[in-house]
Symmetry: C2
Subunit: 842 residues, 2 copies
């Protein structure tokens, strides 16, 4: 029902022309002009031509959505061709489409657009409809859209007080080599005043020209440079520009995080020798006999054998980690949105441009179609094929707003919950101690294998979840394109996020916690005992899992999905054409015909989704893996240029869409950073040993140091209390008879009045852990609110600039008015002539 | 340096005229017109006339701020006359002022305004400058301000699907008697399309007329009706309209809260007989001997004597209270802002009007003055009188943005902290058990007296803090009027809030907690022992304090400050005039001369501040006082009409100011509702006995009921362990020898291995309390985020309406354009004539 059903769209304007001005082909037929060589092609629609003879008639009722205004004032840019193709299959009436095309074209003509048709000339089966928008139409639409345009009037931008200005100047000089070679990107003290386009005030409007993107953006060799955001925005539209601006700022913000992360890691490496708890574990003199790690097959073991794990754990579990978690929580909670707002708004490309623009939401064609269907059904007999669907739609549209959203969330959460349960049980099975005689050396290998298997599952499930989310959202029939997109994103995000984080959450909070105690272990599925962590080893396993997920996901998704798949698709598309003619064609093909073979622009959502999952990895579990920001940074530096290359060379040019912000992604980011605060609080409080160490040091230690901490964390178990059949087969494994063994928990000793009950220390430490969570969460929240309050919504510079612009505009028009009066008196009432009209320059 | 320094302002326009149209005085001189009887008075400036002869010259440098645009496009409305008077004292140069006035008037004249002077005609010493804004000037300014005006074009407003529409219709019928008798307020299906004012498009603009406010708003007899917000907004401007809309919605939202609160209170009353813990306390058979409440003078006592307190405590500390706290946390956290947004935006007065308008911030005149001073000082020799101040300003303006704000907050917090310490020590002194032989009966009296003393301190300190906040903010020299106001509000709020809540926080979280234990009490100031709460009595004391603070503060502030003080001021102002002439004058005085005796409009901040402190009382400690919403509701019903009366009859008409929201007050409300969540979590967890009861029931109770709970909360103390000199003087007071007494705490008994240490139960209950805080806080946050997400920022109806309006505007202009072309062809190029020009109707 959508325009995309009977046309494929691509936008083609002055800009691409200007970019390739130097290599203009000699044959004037290859220029982007109509046959007359005068009217420029602004827009090209393509469609499939199959049966040009058939002329069956069809009712025109279904052309409800063909009204010109929607396609005209803001064409549907981000429509997904997959979806379109799906529905194409559903009702494929070629003739009907031809009629609809004619009606649509009639509407366009009525709006004042000029068209030229080109059917199956060189590429068989493909028709092109070239559209030229005359200058008057452009002006009228610009006025209706209140498009802000730069004017001739220039003014100086002051950068606050003299100190601020000096700092700015200095920064400008330092970052000069990092700036792309695009004049416009430099911080200029003189700006063009901008004003909403108005035909009455046209004499002040100035039209700018452009330079080349390819060299200064889509190249790996300039990875250290800033992106030419202004150019990107002008060429690809605000939505794409915003994505790259956001990505750039995010990557830039990762630099300090990565540096601090590396420092924290190095600090861990440096202090591993001075760490009292791991020294105590490794000390042969502390002759501590531990209880067996599994029933029957395992035997007692010496704590000193866990020396390696204990030392490795220290790398990720030290005082600096706590500091880093706080740092990253704050980073994620406010530094990120703060710099985001600042940079975007302050960057010259954005100042005063789409700053207050208001994005509209169009009613979705599918929704309109089904509302129509429904009303038709009410009138006539119910002969609609898709019964269940229709009923569903009727239900949906009749129910109040909140309820459907509630239902949808319930379904999503149910799926997430079910899959989490399933995955946790798989994880449990993977981690169950099934090997009777295993050594600690093999352990790491097993864990790594488990992590890799997990990674593969994650990548496969990602695709499945994407499909489920789409299906669920289509079932809902949201009213507008915007709400369709938002709901789809939200569901996809929930599912993919749960997918990526389930194993991590399991490792962080469940593993080694629900194991029971010696003599009373918890068994699942009959006789499988839940596996313990190695001494202080859960954090390390979490680390391995995070490391592999991050590296693997990024490598595979980047290389395979982002580079490989598009190339494959392009090859497939070109193979349709006869190979012999291909080279020949390449020489004579028009620009728009060549572009036909490029991939369609499928929206920015996959890119955003990838980045946001990465952001989750970087912030949510950062307490357990301080190198995460570094990995993310390395990935993103490549990612920017990769995406740039894709946009410049692989994809058809997307239709420029106005956008005032990154929309729902911002909401998700804010949500993630909130989740990150609480998760990090819990990781530090419960997964790391920080709180027990502190409590020991200040409440129980005889000398105020950590000496004796390891002994304090180990409870006593009388081996005679083993359940029958679970005692070790080789009790003399260590060479002596064991009467009391130790295990890691805070429980009363066997000789107390309440043997094996949780001890007073257990509750005290639990209280301390919980208090830490409360303090951490509220301190971070308070700090972030405080900074939010310190930083105004609209940066001061901007608000001063807006104020200044407003006054200048008023002054300008006041002057103009007086001038007009004067001119009227001396008999020259006409406004100044236009400076330039680009389409007449040709 | 401000316009307010040499003029007093009041606005006088068509609207007031229209309102009093029926009682138009017969003498045409009393009409609000210039002497010629044709040009209407739009604006009146008054000034003091003292030495009309002196003509000393003064440099015109200091007229930096006299530029027409500031005063013209948006006059400074909310300037405080107190501040003005203060500065007036600082540099009082009458002649200088006259010169400045002349320059200012010259600027006005240049802008096209017409003026008429009237000096000391009837009221000696007062000059009036009447200003008439010709139609052309009004149009020009309206265009520059992009004022949205209704057009002739009407369209239907659809209220969503049929169900929603029916519900709306039903609600409309039910609330019909509650609507004020103002036609416009009814929900209309047909709306006027509005469009930013433009002279080119003037042919579509429509001018509306108005009705009477007094009867339908400022009357106590219609307290049950909605307010005619549309009229209020039109007459007093958006800022005042927003205040009353907000107040109305807040009061309306208090109704469910008050109802639930009363139900919770009644539930407490009804279940007091079935409450096991208080039954156990009151049971004579549980012969529990308690340790003395004070050293020496007090003796052992029977728990049964605390029966009354225990029963009273149950009224406020039961399961329903917890439910109510959650309810109110959610109410405060999202229901309130939610309904706020909805109601305001949906109310017909607001739709599409100032919905997206952007309030400017003017540079503050004081700031400009001091920047100028500073630069003068740099050039010339430093001969400025206010040395310290100037240095301060220089420092302030030179420092980066964040630092001064940080400093300011530090100062504010330091003051708050100091005063809190001081107050807590006073509270401690008041609560110290100084009376040697006191009875529990006297107790309540003592507490009530303490609460009343506190109340008086709060009210006195409120005024002091207001002055401190103002002084601090003036010291800062904020750059713009808006930032001045915001900073002042923020500081005043922090100080007043701390003032009102310090005693409550002390009672809720500190009293009875830092007392030590029998045999090892904590002593302050040598020998004063911290006083315990009566058994389960802290919550009740908190209740009494809250009740008295709320009732007393509202009664005294409403009656004394809001009614009494303005009346007094008016009397004083009128006493300046000779009493003999007064009646005589009253007959012949012009409208604007009469208005001169009304109080000036001093801004809405005191009203907002009062309401926000009340909102704090209602939400922050609601867990301990469920009747708070009821009290607030009763107060507000009076408050609305009181404020209305004040605005209609007591004050000069404020200058209409555009406002898109309630500004910083919204931020403060959001902040308060966040604080409320965490405070309520702590009140339930730590002040109430809910968690200990639950822990006992599920962990320790032998039969799963609360039987034995009282015994469980009491620890044992061996009387031989009293510190020497602290044992009771009359050990045989109860008639038998006491060997072991009980006290309320979770400590090990004297016969255990660790006597008097915190027991395992203590830590377990502490952990449970902390866990409750985490769960409560995060559940409420999650729920509120979820609802925030469900409810779009811009309600759907509004966004559809905006979309519709936009399309209609486009269609309208398309049609107009075609019509124009047609007319051009047949030779009639002139636009349609104006419909009406109000000032020419006279």
């Amino acid at each position: 029902m959508h325009i995309i059903l009977f046309y494929e769209l691509f936008f083609f304007s002055q800009l691409r022309k200007a970019q390739q001005g130097n290599e203009r082909p000699k044959d004037p037929k290859l220029w982007p002009y109509f046959q007359d060589g005068l009217r420029r092609i602004d827009y090209v629609l393509t469609y499939h031509v199959q049966k040009p003879q058939s002329t069956r008639k069809q009712s025109s009722k279904s052309c409800l959505c063909c009204k010109f205004r929607r396609e005209q004032s803001n064409p549907p840019a981000h429509e997904d061709p997959e979806l379109a193709a799906q529905e194409q299959r559903l009702d494929y009436h070629d003739d009907d489409q031809r009629l609809r095309r004619e009606e649509f074209e009639e509407n366009l003509r009525e709006m004042g657009l000029e068209m030229e048709r080109e059917e199956g000339n060189k590429i068989p089966g493909v028709g092109f409809l070239k559209i030229h928008a005359p200058w008057e139409v452009l002006c009228r639409e610009a006025e209706f859209m209140k498009l802000k345009m730069p004017t001739f009037k220039k003014y100086e931008v002051s950068h606050g007080s003299s100190i601020v200005e000096k700092v700015n100047m200095f920064m400008q000089k330092v970052t000069a080599p990092l700036q792309p070679n695009v004049g416009e990107n430099r911080m200029e003290n003189v700006k063009h005043l901008s004003y909403p386009f108005s035909r009455e005030k046209m004499y002040v409007i100035l039209i700018l020209s452009l330079q080349i993107l390819y060299e200064e953006w889509a190249s790996y060799s300039i990875f250290y440079k800033y992106q030419p955001i202004g150019l990107i925005r002008k060429y690809f539209g605000e939505k794409v520009g915003l994505y790259f601006a956001w990505l750039g700022v995010y990557t830039q913000m990762l630099i300090p995080a990565a540096i601090v992360g590396v420092i924290v890691f190095l600090y861990g490496c440096a202090t591993v020798e001075d760490n009292i708890p791991s020294m105590e574990v490794c000390d042969e003199r502390n002759n501590i006999t531990m209880c067996p790690m599994c029933d029957r097959a395992c035997s007692y073991w010496k704590l000193v054998t866990a020396c390696g794990t204990a030392r490795a754990s220290h790398l990720f579990d030290n005082a600096a980690t706590v500091f880093f978690a706080i740092f990253m929580a704050l980073w994620g909670h406010y530094l990120f949105p703060l710099f985001f707002t600042f940079k975007l708004v302050l960057s010259p490309a954005y100042v005063g441009n789409c700053f207050l623009c208001f994005s509209q939401s169009h009613p979705r064609a599918e929704y309109e179609f089904h509302v129509m269907k429904k009303s038709l059904k009410k009138e006539q007999s119910p002969k609609v094929a898709h019964h269940a669907l229709t009923i569903c739609y009727i239900l949906q549209t009749e129910l109040p707003i909140g309820f459907t959203q509630f239902l949808e969330i319930c379904v999503t959460l149910a799926i997430v919950f079910g899959v989490v349960l399933y995955r946790v049980s798989i994880m449990t099975a993977l981690h169950m101690s099934s090997t009777p005689t295993f050594r600690t050396n093999i352990r790491a290998t097993v864990k790594t294998t488990a992590a890799i298997i997990n990674l593969i599952i994650i990548i496969i499930m990602d695709e499945v979840y994407g499909a489920i989310a789409r299906w669920l959202t289509i079932m809902e029939v949201p009213k507008t394109d915007k709400s369709f997109e938002e709901r789809l994103i939200f569901k996809t995000f929930i599912l993919k996020f749960a997918n990526a984080f389930t194993p991590i959450v399991y490792l962080a909070f469940f593993r080694g916690r629900i194991i029971g105690r010696p003599g009373k272990y918890i068994y699942v599925m009959g006789s499988y005992r839940m596996e313990e962590c190695a001494h202080a080893g859960c954090l390390m396993e979490l680390c391995i899992q995070l490391c592999i997920t991050m590296l693997g996901k990024q490598l595979i998704q980047n290389n395979l999905f982002e580079i490989g798949v598009p190339k494959l698709k392009k090859m497939l598309r070109q193979r349709k054409i006869d190979k012999k003619h291909q080279e020949e064609l390449n020489k004579t093909l028009h620009r728009h015909e060549k572009d036909h073979f490029l991939g369609p622009f499928v929206g920015l959502n996959p890119e955003y989704m990838e980045m946001i999952i990465q952001f989750g990895m970087v912030t949510v579990f950062v307490a357990s893996f301080p190198l995460a920001p570094l990995f993310a940074l390395l990935n993103n530096i490549i990612e920017i240029r990769l995406d740039a290359k894709k946009f410049v060379t692989e994809l058809r040019r997307p239709i420029a869409v106005r956008a005032k912000d990154i929309g729902i992604w911002y909401t998700l980011l804010r949500g993630l950073s909130k989740v990150a605060v609480i998760v990090n609080a819990f990781v530090i409080a419960f997964t790391s040993d920080l709180i027990p160490r502190l409590v020991y040091q200040y409440m129980y230690s005889p000398d105020g140091t950590l000496h004796g901490f390891v002994n304090h964390t180990l409870s006593y178990f009388n081996v005679s209390h083993f359940q029958p059949g679970t005692e070790p087969m080789e009790p003399m494994h260590l060479g002596y008879k064991v009467e009391v063994c130790r295990y890691k928990d805070y429980r009363d000793p066997p000789w107390s009045a309440t043997p094996y009950e949780f001890s007073r220390e257990f509750w005290a430490i639990l209280a301390a852990r919980l208090a830490f969570v409360i303090v951490f969460q509220n301190v971070v929240m308070l700090m972030s609110d405080f900074v939010d309050w310190l930083i105004p919504d609209i940066p001061k510079d901007i608000s001063i600039q807006i104020h200044k612009e407003r006054n200048l505009i008023v002054e300008l028009f006041m002057k103009q008015e007086r001038g007009k009066k004067y001119r009227n008196t001396i008999g020259d009432p006409s406004p100044q002539p236009l400076r330039s009209r680009p389409s007449s320059q040709a």
